[in-house]
């Protein structure tokens, strides 16, 4: 009798674990690390983990912007993150011009630019009622055009020493004789993760965002100013993307227009895949899942690169992974079988 009860308890606990998308996402990352260790011995070492951690940051921050957008609406996605990121890189480089004393001007200019482009996105989506994907895709095109005719192909400036330290250097300390190196960007990331989780899960702002994402109409009838909040969500996404551009400038050193707009790293795609892997959808999920998603993508990418896959096949494999995860998530939630009009 007692055994049966405990058996049931174990079952419910297991069920809870497997129905929790965040835990599943981290299990996937763990599985990928084990696969990596089997295929390429020496995959799980502290230094390599830190390299993966550092590379995940650049996907993870864009995924943070995407998380806020996706949580606030079932069909909301920001496809202009790559273009806004490039704005951050170029403006940051031009204002910094290699001098440390310009750092705060650069930060302000970059955030302002991101805010402006994000707000235009949000205005189109919330007030004009244009579908988010089309609005942000067209906006990406406009931003690319603006960058093209303002720079005419000549890029000024470069990162300042402080920014370069933040972008690519490590915090070094010794533990029991071993030198430990932790990238500075990841310390920023940890702060941002804590802040994002607190905002989304513990404050009324997060609650309102979830409300809008679950049912915008009901939220409006409850007196929430849906349009303004949606606009601000897109502004926030733009600001985070351009801020990330500044940090990417620190990592790379000199500006390059293909950092966010090139095909090698497709930031809109990576961030959307990371968000979906993390189980974030309209009104549900938490940023912790998207963090797992970006770990997953970067680890997968590094395994595939070491095995000698080219850009195209890596992209196709990412697409397959997304498709398989979508099938699993939709089927398991049971949402697939219920006829529902969104």
């Amino acid at each position: 009798m007692n055994e049966k009860v405990s058996n049931n308890k174990v079952k419910t606990v297991l069920k809870r674990i497997f129905f929790n998308k965040v835990i599943v996402a981290y299990l996937l990352v763990l599985a990928l690390f084990i696969v990596g260790e089997i295929i390429l011995p020496g995959f799980i070492t502290f230094s390599h983990m830190m390299a993966v951690f550092q590379a995940s940051f650049f996907v993870g921050i864009i995924a943070l912007a995407q998380t806020f957008v996706v949580i606030s609406g079932r069909e909301d996605f920001d496809l202009s993150v790559g273009a806004t990121l490039t704005v951050g890189v170029l403006i940051g480089a031009a204002v910094l011009n290699g001098k440390n004393e310009n750092f705060f001007f650069a930060l302000a200019a970059v955030l302002a630019a991101g805010f402006i482009f994000g707000t235009i996105n949000g205005f189109g989506v919330a007030y004009l009622g244009i579908a988010p994907i089309i609005m942000t895709l067209a906006m990406a095109m406009v931003i690319e055009g603006i960058l093209l005719f303002t720079t005419k192909g000549f890029l000024y400036g470069k990162a300042s020493p402080v920014l370069e330290i933040i972008g690519k250097d490590f915090l070094k300390f010794t533990v029991a004789g071993h030198v430990m190196k932790i990238p500075w960007v990841n310390i920023i990331w940890v702060i941002l993760i804590v802040a994002a989780v607190l905002i989304l899960n513990r404050t009324s702002t997060g609650f309102v965002l979830r409300g809008i994402g679950t049912n915008a109409r009901a939220a409006e009838l409850l007196g929430i100013r849906v349009k303004i909040i949606k606009t601000l969500v897109y502004s926030f996404s733009g600001m985070i993307s351009s801020f990330m551009g500044l940090l990417l400038l620190g990592y790379v050193g000199t500006p390059n227009i293909s950092l966010g707009l090139g095909h090698k790293v497709n930031y809109p795609m990576l961030s959307i895949v990371a968000v979906i892997i993390g189980g974030i959808g309209g009104g549900q999920g938490s940023y912790v899942g998207a963090v797992a998603g970006s770990f997953f993508l970067v680890t997968l990418n590094s395994i595939l690169t070491t095995l000698g896959f080219d850009d195209g096949s890596r992209m196709a494999i990412t697409g397959f992974v997304l498709l398989i995860l979508l099938i699993i998530y939709t089927r398991r939630a049971g949402g697939g079988r219920v006829l529902k009009k969104g």
């Binding site: 244009i130 005419k152 959307i272 850009d311 992209m315 196709a316 697409g319 979508l326």
Partner: protein, 330 residues
């Protein structure tokens, strides 16, 4: 003009005009007329056969992709992988093509697009009921990945007679691009005579209602994607003959342009509203506007910006009537 979704008793001349006025594609038709007039002023010899042919060489693929996109949107789904499928088609055909196996390669590419774009998307969205936007985003990554894998840099071989054929007149009268367009529209008209066409509207307009009245919703959604992929395949042939190379970037502008054209043409993203004639008007508007940019001698640095702004402005203007509708609802 097709006025399927307006129920009004035909008869007197007055109701005929009312019917046209209330048609979803009427505003886009008006805009199209204005833009054509502007184009006539800017472009020399606008009505000569060769100028019409050069214009339609670029318009035909866009119109065909827009038809594909609108069929899918009307069925309540969306096709984000249209551009990537076009890239995949051009890369694959240009890679395998030699002087002797042209027909075989084109048929193979066509089949690949129908399987990859039509059946894969249709199966996922129709049968497995995944969210259309994200699903087609994933297939976009797959198709684009394959295209990049086959052809990392632009190249390939396209026989000379193929692109000569596209830039010539059929029987010395009818430009070939227009001939292909007529074939495409004829296929669409044939489809619109079947019950499948009505089912697509029913499923897009009210999925639960369609299910309750015995329509096989998942099959209809799948068919919508498969039919759309046929048009994407034809558009792919046009782009192959137009550019005469395979490049994985060649299809990407068609995605945003086709989406914008469908919306300008009065097709609602919620599904079940609008018709394909409006979408064709929308595609022509985008095409002629791009023409105007070219003939107004805009510097090449400003062209991407101008094209993006045109899409944004057109979308904002198209959204204005919707804002008033919202007001009436409250």
């Amino acid at each position: 003009m097709n006025t399927n979704n307006n129920i009004s008793k035909a008869g007197s001349a007055k109701s005929f005009w009312l019917k046209i006025y209330k048609d979803t594609s009427f505003p886009s038709f008006l805009v199209l007329v204005m833009i054509v007039i502007l184009n006539v002023i800017l472009q020399p010899n606008f009505f000569s056969v060769s100028v019409v042919r050069t214009n339609f060489m670029t318009f035909t693929p866009l119109i065909l992709v827009t038809i594909a996109q609108s069929i899918v949107i009307i069925s309540g789904s969306i096709d984000f992988s249209a551009g990537a499928s076009l890239s995949f088609f051009t890369c694959m055909t240009a890679f395998f093509m030699t002087d002797k196996n042209v027909a075989l390669v084109i048929i193979l590419g066509f089949t690949a697009v129908i399987i990859g774009n039509g059946f894969l998307n249709g199966f996922m969205i129709g049968k497995l009921r995944l969210q259309p936007l994200i699903t087609t985003y994933a297939t976009q990554a797959i198709m684009l990945g394959f295209a990049m894998y086959i052809m990392p840099v632009a190249g390939g071989y396209v026989p000379r007679f193929l692109y000569k054929f596209y830039n010539s007149n059929f029987l010395k009268v009818l430009p070939v691009p227009i001939l292909i367009l007529i074939i495409g529209v004829a296929i669409w008209i044939l489809i619109s005579k079947t019950t499948l066409y009505r089912y697509i509207y029913a499923v897009g307009g009210n999925e639960e209602g369609a299910y309750a009245s015995g329509i096989n919703v998942s099959n209809i959604k799948m068919f919508a994607h498969v039919i759309a992929s046929i048009f994407i395949g034809i558009a792919g042939i046009c782009i192959l003959m137009l550019s005469a190379t395979g490049e994985w970037r060649s299809g990407s502008p068609y995605l945003i342009n086709s989406l914008a054209a469908a919306i300008i043409g009065g097709i609602s993203l919620r599904g079940g509203k609008g018709d394909v004639w409006g979408a064709i008007c929308g595609a022509l508007i985008i095409g002629f506007l791009n023409n105007i940019i070219f003939f107004a001698r805009v510097s090449s640095y400003y062209q991407i910006f101008a094209k993006g702004m045109i899409i944004l402005l057109a979308l904002s203007i198209a959204s204005i009537p919707k804002l008033f509708e919202e007001k009436y609802k409250f």
